[in-house]
Symmetry: C2
């Protein structure tokens, strides 16, 4: 067990699995030592290529991510996988899913897999995911695959950290192309048409391409459509090729830089909110205290604005407004 943060940071940078696992747990628990570690590691981040993978349940995202990871490993690249499930109350490295998935890579120290799930707020999850990606970045993983179900607003926040975002679709899932959420169109750098041996795949692809033709280009990039059958390992190399093409396209691109700065700005605000709310909690305004105030508001004994002022005063954050 590491004795100092410096020591621990060195072990993480060396890619030691147990040190990384402990670090993810510290991040998830928002333990102070997790933050210390991240601060120590931060200067060594910024090297990994982060690939976000999102799509509706049942589109085969996990299999696709596994195959893509295996492909990169075949190229002697190191890989980290973060599987985010905002709807699941389970978390941590010990859940069954991780174990099953690890089996394929169990003897391979060049790959690290971790599931993360909601603990309280979605904002906290986006934060934890982002911090875990930094950690794996510092640990020298060359590709970080962040997989998330969705797409709601929360999942979009999670995917935003990616350098390249894959949106996974499956033909014949009842979604006509025109029902695709606008949000999906906006975040996709590459569309993956998985299970492309299904009926209706050609028609679906045709519609999708037609839609992409009229969609506005972003920074000179028109999202390609890649057909895959992840379970049969088909189309994976082509997908990796398109990711590489996007990566080269993005190098030095003005919008990539703008995107990263924008991302840090969002994270700063989130972190600020988390920090201030922690301060309120530390002042003893816990869940029970909030409930008691809510009861008084509900009974019209106090108005919500007065209640907030009361909380701020208690937390020593009273303002002069």
């Amino acid at each position: 067990m590491p004795t100092t943060t410096e020591n621990w940071a060195e072990q993480v940078r060396a890619g030691e699995v147990r040190a990384i696992s402990r670090a993810v747990t510290a991040i998830e628990n928002r333990a102070p030592e997790g933050e210390k570690l991240l601060r120590e590691l931060f200067p060594h981040t910024g090297q990994a290529y982060r690939i976000g993978v999102t799509g509706a349940p049942g589109t085969g995202k996990s299999t696709l991510v596994d195959r893509l990871a295996a492909y990169y490993r075949g190229q002697k690249k190191t890989v980290g996988i973060i599987a985010v499930d905002p709807s699941s109350p389970f978390t941590g490295g010990a859940i069954l899913g991780d174990r099953v998935r690890m089996q394929g890579h169990a003897t391979d120290s060049g790959i690290f897999i971790r599931s993360m799930a909601t603990r309280g707020s979605l904002g906290g999850l986006a934060q934890a995911t982002s911090d875990t990606a930094l950690l794996l970045d510092a640990a020298g993983k060359e590709f970080i695959l962040v997989e998330t179900v969705g797409v709601g607003q929360g999942e979009i926040e999670i995917v935003r950290l990616a350098d390249c975002t894959l949106v996974v679709l499956v033909p014949g899932m009842g979604d006509d192309v025109q029902n695709l959420k606008a949000g999906l169109m906006e975040i996709a750098d590459i569309f993956v048409l998985n299970k492309c041996d299904r009926e209706g795949a050609d028609r679906f692809e045709e519609q999708l391409r037609a839609m992409l033709t009229i969609a506005p280009e972003r920074g000179g990039w028109r999202p390609p459509v890649v057909r895959t059958i992840a379970t049969e390992n088909k189309g994976i190399a082509e997908l990796a090729g398109e990711i590489e093409r996007f990566r080269r396209h993005s190098v030095g691109a003005e919008n990539r830089r703008a995107r990263e700065i924008d991302l840090w700005k969002t994270r700063l605000i989130e972190l600020l909110e988390l920090r201030l709310m922690e301060r309120v909690e530390r002042a003893g305004i816990d869940d029970a205290a909030l409930s008691a105030l809510a009861v008084r508001i509900s009974n019209r004994q106090i108005d919500p604005y007065a209640a907030v002022n009361e909380i701020l005063a208690t937390a020593g954050l009273g303002d002069a407004r």
Copy 2:
């Protein structure tokens, strides 16, 4: 123009349209006088019945809301309508949509219609919607219809304030019942099958009912399915009947009380976050300052945790952690 908050509050309580309009604008702009007014009015709230109406674009929500409002007016009930569009950058009472919609009710002072749209954050929108509902409540509106597109997490927040939530569906919109978002199933007190003269309506209804049979009951209520053709005013009275049935069911129900307290708790936290962030802004940490910090983080000149500490110190919120 009212000279004092007390005066203004009296005019709002008397249902004066211009006083209410000015108040909504003050709320949207987060002006201090809006808050003062709400505090004055708060003891007079808690009487209105709030009906949330949500569903995908194209389901005919607006028409349905208009017809339901007309039905209540026919029953001599006063009505407020808040149309929330999280995806629209437009807002305020002057937009075309409001004017067109108002025409049908233009000479009727018993109805008040207002559109609200995103200004900055979704959290802010939920807050403004909730405050506007309080305002219309104090203004004596007996039914408040809150209409929102969606359903993402943000829209769920907005609908949460409702005493009764209608989820509007349309057969043949490509959504098979099994593709219904889980979120929709959870928030619906009543399902409205609008445009029910469309092909596939019977099959759709059958599937929906089958799904509801296996869904867990909440507080002894199983959401009914009401068929409507809003454009032809069909099914509106039946819908109002089901709303009334749910209302009577909810009176004194343990879960209704729990729901309201939970809602106030959520609102307290949101309000707290807004308040703290306002304080940061007032300390001069504006958008430009955040961008400058984000650039430094992106260049690895400062880590995000150090940046947040810097902001907190500048805002006089520095903590001892």
